[in-house]
Symmetry: C2
Subunit: 105 residues, 2 copies
DNA sequence: ACAAGAAGTCAAAAAAATATGACTACCCAC
DNA sequence: GTGGGTAGTCATATTTTTTTGACTTCTTGT
């Protein structure tokens, strides 16, 4: 890795990066929860009892960088941060469904 | 993690296992090549110049165990082993296409 | 008989992904 | 001004994945 790009010089398969990202720990679970409601860091930690700060923080960051989640600072009453699924993130839904279906065969 | 099963007690998302499998190193590339022609171990090693025996052997085994590839001993002239995509493996094609498309956004 | 190709296996090392626990910094309530 | 909630970061372990290099077994060619 003399170069420092996100994957190898030319990624053999364009889906590889995304696949790797989605397969990372907690990603699928975070995605599922994001489907239900906006996510908040500490709440997420409580919802995923075996997860740890660092991993959740990293997962959120990666999902945000991949533009699957959008991070918003809510400047209201309790003043907090929310992560919600982006449009792009929503297009993953049918892909997950396909994978689930295939996994059940 | 007192228990020792392959994933966590109940896998939070049914797609997780498959996702992890497919995201493993060399998997996508092997899949692509399998789309073109039956695979042979040593040929694969030559086609993936940076890959190593062990990893390829493991990848083939996992893909076979997931029933995405079928392993066949060809009892003809040169006597060798071939790995070909199963029906189930073929159903991954549109999933990969979706992922590629999403990755290109 | 000997070499070379096919398809691996094995133990150990290196690299990458995850986890742990301590620590920040900001805001609010009491 | 102490305690608790928010959202993290950092350095360091531990665990998991991937690589390395040596070795194996069977078959074929010369």
């Amino acid at each position: 890795m003399t170069t420092h790009n996100q994957e190898n010089s030319q990624e053999a398969c364009p889906a590889e990066g995304l696949l790797k990202l989605l397969a990372g720990k907690w990603k699928a679970q975070i995605f599922r929860l994001a489907l239900e409601h906006p996510l908040r860091f500490n709440a997420l930690l409580r919802q995923l009892p075996d997860a740890n700060k660092q991993s959740i923080a990293l997962a959120l960051k990666e999902l945000e960088e991949a533009e699957l989640l959008v991070k918003t600072t809510i400047k209201q009453k309790p003043l907090h941060i929310e992560y919600v699924l982006s449009e792009k993130g929503l297009t993953l839904v049918p892909i997950f469904r396909n994978l689930e279906q295939l996994a059940s065969i």
